[in-house]
């Protein structure tokens, strides 16, 4: 039963009176793409923050490969193979794209402080191996042409892909992607879908938050739906799509939006 890559049990976090994540349990099988969907404010990003260690749960457990991680700081979780991207892009703006990816290899580079500072043989070998690997990853996400550009100067869609590249540099056992297609045009979204398809083929395990439903339905093996912090449905994409509660949750927000004067 504990063959799951990630399993959340009764995960809850309250901000004052609001339970942003309320008794959520889910499990992600290795090698699958698992979708986490729900209307705005449903608690998806909060789940990511709990799993990656930016927030501490009020109650419940988080297990990565059967090991409880909810008490560990974010950098230790990264050491166990957890990597993520951010809904609001977080770039190292002054670094080149290449160096941004190399930063993701921080934990893989074993040369000690003295060896790195004095640029001894071991550091140089490791650094050049890291650089070669960083180029491969940039190739994979389609950014090798931009390797020498400042991360902060890249177009929005490229920054999103660079965040994925930086996370891949960690060689993650679980990759959390928070709205990777947000703000992308249709052709960029198509490229992203191809990329995630390739990652899936290579055996990566991904927990994906995304608003583009076609995208989610095509990519995901399993989907969990949140609304107001609670899990309202889960299952295979076809089943989730026709679930009345899910339809109501989405329809509800659309009605609310049109009442508020939105689209």
């Amino acid at each position: 039963m504990s063959a799951a890559r990630l399993s959340l049990t009764h995960l809850t976090i309250r901000f004052g009176g609001l339970a942003a994540v309320d008794d959520v349990s889910l499990s992600v099988a290795p090698g699958t793409v698992h979708g986490l969907i729900g209307p705005n404010g449903a608690g998806k990003t909060t789940v990511f923050n709990l799993v990656s260690g930016l927030l501490a749960p009020s109650s419940g457990t988080i297990m990565l490969d059967g090991k409880e991680i909810e008490a560990l700081p974010s950098w230790s979780r990264a050491g166990l193979g957890l990597a993520r991207t951010f809904q609001n892009i977080r770039m190292f703006a002054q670094m080149t794209a290449l160096e941004t990816v190399m930063t993701g290899m921080h934990l893989r580079m074993k040369a000690g402080p003295v060896a790195s500072i004095l640029r001894m043989g071991r550091f140089r070998t490791e650094e050049s191996a890291a650089r070669d690997r960083a180029y491969e990853i940039l190739d994979l996400v389609g950014l090798s042409q931009s390797a020498q550009l400042r991360s902060g100067d890249l177009p929005y869609g490229d920054q999103r892909r660079l965040e994925i590249a930086r996370a891949l540099a960690l060689e993650p056992r679980l990759l959390l992607l928070d709205e990777p297609a947000a703000g992308m045009n249709p052709s960029e979204t198509q490229q992203l879908e191809d990329l995630l398809g390739r990652l899936k083929q290579q055996g990566y395990t991904i927990l994906l938050v995304e608003h583009d439903m076609h995208f989610v339905m095509r990519l995901c093996d399993e989907i969990t739906v949140l609304n107001f912090g609670r899990k309202i449905a889960e299952g295979r994409p076809e089943a989730v799509r026709s679930n009345p509660q899910v339809i109501e949750a989405y329809l509800g927000t659309r009605v609310a939006k049109s009442l508020a004067g939105g689209s």
Binding site: S52, P73, L107, I117
Partner: protein, 291 residues
């Protein structure tokens, strides 16, 4: 520490501008000490306090125990390092302004302790400190510190530091141990500031508790904010400008506090990357794609 015999022209120049030349080197070290903390995205207002600890430690070690200059300077680095460990360990686990607040506290507590202790000469301070430091010890220290910091900045440690300063959450999520890096930076910065204090005590022969107060902390901060953080050269440039400015414009000398305060405001508002915006490369030309 032995001093070289200098040619006469330089000797004359030094005689006239000796204090200024010493100050430039010592302020350069202080600017580097500030840089190390800011480089991991933290704010310390304790650099003057660390400097004062170093000054008092080395002065007492030479005056009371007769230690040699190198030994006293080692003490001037280790004692502030211990203080940095003590205040850094609890505060650096939290993010935000805790370090800044704790270091302001350190400065005040320390000033009161020096003022009220006979052992440290009370409010009058310590005098008769042997003037054993000079050009070689000051500029030698500055050079070694600068070379080391350039090497650190170019290494993967420098890359991790830059990542933290640009985006702490993202850096932590990549596995960078934030408290360890922050504590390491604070300890290194305390050692540099302590060294500057030790050297200062041993060129001026007289130190008093009020030399190391909040004003001094703000001046040290303004060195780094004016220069920038793109490379370790930047804060030194800031220190040189802010040390020479009052000399060139004599009328400014009485408004040092006003000048450094204004510099901070201007730097933060209009040039957040400082004067020297050049960012030192890390993987350099070899970063071209291997063919």
């Amino acid at each position: 520490m032995p001093e070289f015999v200098l040619p006469e022209v330089i000797d004359d120049f030094l005689f006239t501008y000796q204090n200024l030349v010493y100050s430039l080197g010592i302020h350069g070290l202080l600017a580097l000490s500030m840089y190390v903390v800011l480089a991991v995205g933290q704010l310390s207002l304790g650099q003057a306090a660390f400097m004062g600890l170093g000054a008092y430690a080395s002065a007492l070690l030479t005056l009371k125990l007769g230690w040699s200059l190198p030994a006293a300077l080692a003490g001037a680095m280790l004692i502030p390092a211990a203080a940095a460990l003590i205040i850094g360990s609890p505060t650096l686990r939290l993010s935000g302004v805790y370090l800044a607040l704790a270091t302001i506290g350190l400065g005040e507590v320390q000033r009161l302790a020096f003022v009220n202790s006979d052992f440290t000469g009370g409010a009058l301070g310590l005098s008769g400190i042997p003037t054993k430091a000079g050009l070689v010890s000051i500029y030698g220290s500055l050079l070694v510190a600068l070379v080391l910091l350039v090497l650190v900045a170019r290494s993967k440690i420098g890359r991790a530091m830059e990542a933290m300063r640009e985006d702490e959450l993202a850096a932590g999520a990549l596995g960078i141990n934030l408290p360890a890096y922050k504590l390491g930076a604070l300890v290194a910065s305390a050692m540099l500031a302590g060294l500057a204090g030790g050297l200062n005590a041993h060129v001026s022969s007289f130190i008093s508790p009020n030399d190391y107060g909040f004003d001094a902390a703000v001046t040290i901060l303004s060195f780094a904010l004016l220069g920038g953080l793109g490379s370790p050269f930047a804060p030194i440039l800031g220190a040189v400008i802010l040390t020479l400015l009052p000399e060139v414009l004599r009328s400014l000398a009485n408004y040092r506090g006003l000048v450094s305060g204004s510099i901070i405001v201007i730097a933060v508002m209009f040039m957040p990357r400082g004067l020297l915006i050049w960012r030192m490369g890390r993987i350099g030309v070899s970063s071209r794609r291997p063919s």
